[in-house]
């Protein structure tokens, strides 16, 4: 079974700095990481491959340095990496991104066989829209399974997949046909550590680099800035919440007294909660 996993290289949000004057992101020296959410999808893909055989292609669209993230994905055990990089992609929003990625996936299918499953992460920590996955699914006509917490069953012969999906207020069990697009929910599995052999293989692997043309994209109007219907007009730093935390007075108080005032403060600010708790305590 061929599986494609889309990963994105993102700046480590812990390290982001905002220029005090221009309010622009100061990327200089900000370390990059694989979007943490994507790792859960990658791990799922690896497990499926280990069970059912086949191979995994990791795909990213980004600047040349995104190759590092792909190589890291190979260290986890992926079989092949494709870097989609071209200045025409600069400034893509989710629409343009899903266009570029789906074009690349189409090209991957003709080159190495159609994937049965395309994985994306739940969302990125920089774009944070959770829209690229659905966008890809739509463009490629894949059955869309988002917020998947467990892949319950895959029937390759019957091209069927059964998953548990996080819905509002509960968990849906869905069955659909392959090929499909899956976005995994966070913290659904422990992420493995590649073996020494994997690490050696990854260090040697050739990362496939594609330009827009290589990916078979002819209409550049659908790429990058020009292909992005959304317009970012203004970027600004959030006005730091004026009042810092209200500190509970502790000097000269016993722990019991302190606890008492914490509770009072909570009930003062959330009267509803006290009511709810009393209902609960009263046993109905």
């Amino acid at each position: 079974m061929h599986i494609v996993v889309c990963i994105k290289q993102v700046p480590d949000s812990a390290q982001i700095r905002v220029h005090p004057v221009t309010n622009t992101i100061m990327r200089q020296g900000v370390p990059t990481i694989i979007n943490p959410y994507d790792l859960f999808s990658l791990e799922q893909a690896l497990r499926l491959r280990d069970q059912h055989g086949g191979e995994i292609t990791v795909l990213t669209m980004g600047p040349p340095m995104a190759e590092d993230s792909l190589r890291k994905a190979l260290t986890f055990g992926a079989d092949r990496a494709v870097l989609l990089t071209d200045r025409y992609f600069a400034g893509s929003d989710t629409m343009a991104t899903s266009f570029a990625l789906s074009s690349a996936i189409a090209r991957i299918s003709t080159t190495w066989g159609s994937p049965k499953i395309v994985f994306t992460g739940k969302q990125t920590i920089d774009g944070d829209t959770a829209q690229v996955g659905p966008g890809i699914a739509r463009r490629l006509g894949l059955n869309q399974l988002t917020y998947v917490s467990r892949i319950a069953d895959i029937d390759l012969a019957g091209d069927q997949i059964t998953v548990e999906r996080r819905a509002e207020g509960g968990v849906q069990t869905l069955r659909t046909k392959l090929p499909c697009l899956v976005t995994m929910l966070e913290a659904t599995c422990d992420i493995r550590r590649g073996s020494m052999a994997d690490a050696l293989r990854a260090a040697r692997a050739e990362v496939v680099k594609w330009s827009a043309a290589d990916a078979g994209i002819t209409d550049l109007g659908k790429c990058g800035l020009r292909g992005s219907p959304t317009v970012v007009k203004r970027v600004f730093a959030p006005s730091a919440r004026s009042e810092k935390a209200h500190f509970i007075e502790i000097t000269g108080k016993s722990n019991e007294a302190v606890a008492e005032s914490v509770m009072e403060e909570v009930f003062l600010r959330l009267p509803a909660i006290e009511a709810d708790l009393q209902k609960m305590a009263a046993g109905y």
């Binding site: 390290q15 700095r17 220029h19 005090p20 004057v21 100061m26 200089q28 020296g29 370390p31 590092d68 260290t75 550590r193 590649g194 073996s195 020494m196 052999a197 690490a199 050696l200 990854a202 260090a203 040697r204």
Partner: protein, 433 residues
């Protein structure tokens, strides 16, 4: 076990490891370099000064694409007591030369760039992989390493220990002892970010010009150590370091000292309004010549900090690391072409070459300095005396200059007595010679 066998495994991707791996790869050896950090440099966050010479010998055209912050055109040396600073400042237009001699760099970025060159040269570089053990055969010869990854025993003819100051691997394998606290300084450092414009105005810099400030005095509360401020493009590297043994005695914390330095009236205005992003602690070997351990054996050599190659006086480390890394590599390559085994006997050539190089000559020159610097007066009494002298001298208060001179001289004798002064001078002189 991994079937594959390498000519050489380099442990660590700091300046020493990179210099070594690069040289070996360029000479066509099959090299595997293992780094425990997420990427080369991720464990080396300290802002630092890069000395062009050592790097030029490895990558002559490094200036074209290396991530350099600023070239240093001004050096300040601060002697501080709690309220005052006596400064020596040297700034020269000559440092705005075509091929500057010293640069400020951000190690995280620089090491990454360096490593890319190593990979381009053909070495296999694998990060997020910690070497846990040197594998030895019955006769004690090192034949490979084991890592924290599954199936991690890898064979090599020779293992280069570029693991940095703590030298744990070598020690664990019983090839050396861990450096004693008296020979290791603990340095803490912060990155203070400022808008480029602001920073350049504060240090009156234009373009890529940079300033280096080294400071000593009562800021270290009598402990042997120094503080520094380096200017990067849009940040300041601010740090302070003292001997671990001193921290142990005084119970001071490195961070406490750094706060003290940052709030000093001479430093505070330079840092005002900056945003602190990184905070890092790292050790610096400062034992000098006398602390250098056994550097080679059957199937192994030690390079860089792991071998205590740091010139504490001139704050040189990365250049010694690169040079020792390079020389070790050249030696290994030579032995390889002669088809000789990587035994202690043949690897001893490495030590011989070091002795002939500036590395050993410099460290020899200062071999007595670490001892001399244990004299606490250097970090307490003298800075205060100096400051007092300056005040007496510059204050215009109707006292005649002759009287001022006498007063100053007296203050020195009062504080240290004749014998004290002489012995201090003597030991410093010996340390310097």
């Amino acid at each position: 076990m991994i079937e594959e066998r390498f000519d050489c495994i380099v442990v660590g991707a700091g300046p020493a490891g990179n210099a070594c791996a690069l040289t070996l790869a360029e000479r066509g050896l099959k090299v595997l370099q293992l780094e425990r950090g997420e990427y080369p440099g991720s464990k080396n966050v300290q802002g630092a000064i890069l000395y062009a010479d050592a790097l030029e010998k490895l990558i002559p055209d490094f200036r074209e694409d290396a991530p350099l912050e600023r070239h240093v055109i001004e050096q300040r040396i601060w002697m501080m007591d709690d309220r005052s600073t006596t400064a020596m400042q040297y700034r020269s237009e000559d440092f705005n030369e075509e091929k500057p001699n010293r640069y400020t760099i951000i190690r995280a970025q620089f090491d990454k760039w360096f490593s890319k060159r190593v990979q381009a040269a053909g070495a296999l570089v694998i990060c997020e992989t910690t070497v846990t053990e040197l594998v030895q055969n019955d006769s004690g010869r090192v034949i490979g390493v084991r890592t924290d990854r599954a199936g991690g025993f890898i064979r090599a003819d020779v293992v280069v220990l570029a693991e940095g100051v703590n030298g744990l691997l070598g020690a664990r394998a019983g090839l050396r002892c861990v450096p004693p606290p008296k020979t290791v300084a603990l340095a803490v450092k912060e990155m203070h970010f400022l808008p480029q414009e602001t920073l350049e105005a504060r240090f009156n810099l234009k373009g890529d010009e940079g300033v280096v400030i080294e400071a000593a005095g009562t800021i270290t509360k009598g402990m042997t150590g120094t503080a520094f401020i380096y200017t990067n493009k849009e940040s300041l590297a601010v740090g302070i370091g003292c001997l671990i043994s001193d921290f142990a005695q005084t119970g001071e914390t490195p961070y406490g000292l750094l706060e003290r330095f940052k709030s000093h009236p001479s430093a505070a205005p330079l840092l005002a309004g900056s945003e602190v992003k990184e905070y890092a602690a790292h050790m610096i070997p400062e034992g000098g010549y006398k602390a250098i351990p056994q550097l080679f054996g059957d199937g192994w050599v030690i390079v860089g900090d792991a071998g205590q190659f740091v010139n504490a006086v001139h704050r040189e480390g990365s250049n010694l690391a690169m040079t020792t890394g390079r020389i070790a590599a050249e030696t290994i390559a030579q032995i390889k072409t002669r088809r000789d085994p990587m035994t202690a006997e043949h690897l001893s050539l490495y030590k011989k070459r070091l002795d002939e190089s500036f590395v050993m000559k410099d460290l020899k020159k200062y071999k007595n300095l670490p001892h001399a610097l244990e004299n606490k007066h250097l970090f307490t009494t003298y800075p205060q005396l100096l400051s007092g002298a300056m005040q007496t001298w510059f204050r215009v208060d109707g006292v005649d200059k002759k009287a001022k001179e006498n007063e100053i001289v007296k203050s020195f004798f009062r504080a240290r007595r004749f014998t004290g002064l002489v012995s201090d001078m003597f030991s410093m002189a010996r340390g310097w010679r």
